[in-house]
């Protein structure tokens, strides 16, 4: 178990968006969180990556506590511990958020060198391997504006992988892609999982979830409605809300 979320609550301006969310992610597991927009999927991802602070709940990353619930209040890790936790987490944003003023290579090596104090040589070596794996070798000196959507996404994955995270989060990985590129990102995700990363992906693309996920969580109105294996999920569809969602 590499990620454990317990009793996660979050509200914005008094309006609850997460109501008691609990789940776990294993090493090498691909977990898809699905649900319509507004169900709270992205908020979960933002909580796990500490982009927003939850109101209550415990988030454990590789046996470290990102935040810990104590009598209805969440206490967050202190900065040095938080940095260690960050290193275990990778996040690929829906719109990638590459740094436009840096080349592809610099996007990947910036954090390892300037935040984590890894030697430039080591960082470049790692980046070169990642670029090769993601078929981007000839784009190392390009700038983000020169890349296609699929290439930008692969750079974002490379950047998120540069510190060897244990968990890779992807927010709507198919939303900015042409349909024919879906298979590519699916196999990239699978190969990351085979290397032992736990993959947490958010999507409302049912076909993509069906293609790549091993486990599925269905969310509605800030709660997990169903959590099961992909096969169970798509075969039984016992819940009405899930049925209506899939039917759409």
């Amino acid at each position: 178990m590499v990620l454990k979320v317990q009793g996660l609550y979050k509200s914005f301006k008094g309006k609850p968006v997460l109501k008691d969310v609990n789940f776990e992610l294993d090493t090498g597991e691909i977990l898809a969180i699905i649900g319509r927009s507004g169900a709270g999927k992205t908020t979960i991802l933002r909580c796990i990556n500490n982009l927003v602070r939850c109101d209550r709940g415990t988030i454990q990353v590789d046996n470290m506590y990102l935040c810990r619930d104590d009598e209805g209040q969440s206490f967050y890790a202190k900065p040095p511990e938080m940095l260690k936790i960050r290193k275990k987490l990778g996040l690929v944003f829906q719109n990638f958020n590459l740094f436009p003023h840096m080349s592809v290579l610099d996007n990947i090596i910036e954090a390892p060198i300037n935040v984590f104090r890894i030697s430039k040589k080591e960082a470049v070596n790692k980046a070169t391997d990642l670029l090769e794996m993601l078929d981007l070798t000839d784009k190392a000196t390009s700038y983000p504006f020169e890349l296609s959507g699929g290439q930008k996404q692969r750079v974002a994955i490379a950047r998120a992988c540069a510190l060897n995270p244990l968990i890779m989060c992807l927010d709507e990985p198919t939303s900015a892609l042409d349909p024919e590129l879906r298979e590519g990102i699916a196999s990239t995700i699978e190969s990351l999982a085979q290397e032992g990363m736990g993959i947490l992906l958010i999507t409302h693309d049912m076909n993509f979830a069906k293609r790549v996920a091993q486990k599925v969580i269905f969310m509605d109105e800030g709660q997990i409605i169903e959590e099961c294996s992909k096969e169970e999920f798509f075969d039984s569809m016992k819940n009405d809300r899930i049925k209506s969602f899939i039917g759409e």
Partner: protein, 215 residues
């Protein structure tokens, strides 16, 4: 004849140009970093600091620069703060221009996609590193055209220092013009300003070209 006359004017005009350039460069070098601080202060989450910076910007943009120069040189001595002419002028110019630059930089910073901050945070950047490594380089590209505008205005604003009796370019031209009952010195002064702004326009064009490597 005309050439000879102009050549005779040159020593006085060049000495005026010297003062003009000193005011120009010192103001530029000091007001740009101060402007960055003003922008950061204006965008900070510390409410009293924001109010203070807003007050400062309001006063600096809301009163004429000429008045500010007069205030620093003639007004402050009343409360016991005395400056020589040149430092007084530089102080007034830097405070005034930092307010304008501050607002330009603030606009530049605010136009950067919020996702850049998220990306930096996820990668472990501290707020300071986020600003220097991610935000600042993108801001510079965005603000260059507005800064160029402001810098060219500064060239011409330097003529205001006559009010404390400093002999800058325009004043040198006016003295010669009055003495010789001729408009020629003023025409020459106009050409000087045009050359200065042409050089600055070219410099900023080069800078914009330099920053065109990304979008």
């Amino acid at each position: 004849m005309m050439i000879e006359y102009i050549l005779r004017l040159l020593p006085a005009l060049l000495s005026g140009l010297n003062v003009t350039l000193k005011v120009f460069f010192l103001t530029l070098i000091l007001s740009i970093p101060l402007g960055i601080l003003v922008a950061v202060g204006r965008l900070s989450k510390i409410k009293p600091l924001v109010a203070l910076v807003e007050l400062y910007i309001w006063v600096m943009r809301g009163t004429p620069l000429l008045l500010q120069i007069i205030f620093v040189f003639f007004g402050l001595p009343i409360v016991g703060i005395t400056f020589d002419r040149f430092p007084a002028v530089i102080l007034a110019f830097v405070l005034n221009y930092a307010a304008y630059f501050g607002e330009i930089f603030r606009g530049g910073i605010e136009s950067i996609d919020k996702g850049q901050y998220d990306a930096a945070k996820v990668l472990g950047f501290t707020p300071t590193k986020t600003f220097t490594r991610i935000i600042l380089p993108q801001m510079i590209k965005i603000v260059l055209p507005s800064v160029a505008n402001e810098v060219i205005t500064l060239v011409k604003d330097t003529s205001l220092v006559y009010v404390v009796g400093l002999g800058e370019l325009l004043r040198a031209g006016k003295i010669a013009s009055n003495r010789d009952v001729s408009l020629v010195p003023l025409v020459v002064v106009g050409v000087f300003y045009l050359v200065l702004t042409a050089v600055l326009t070219a410099v900023f064009q080069k800078l914009e070209d330099k920053y065109s490597y990304f979008q």
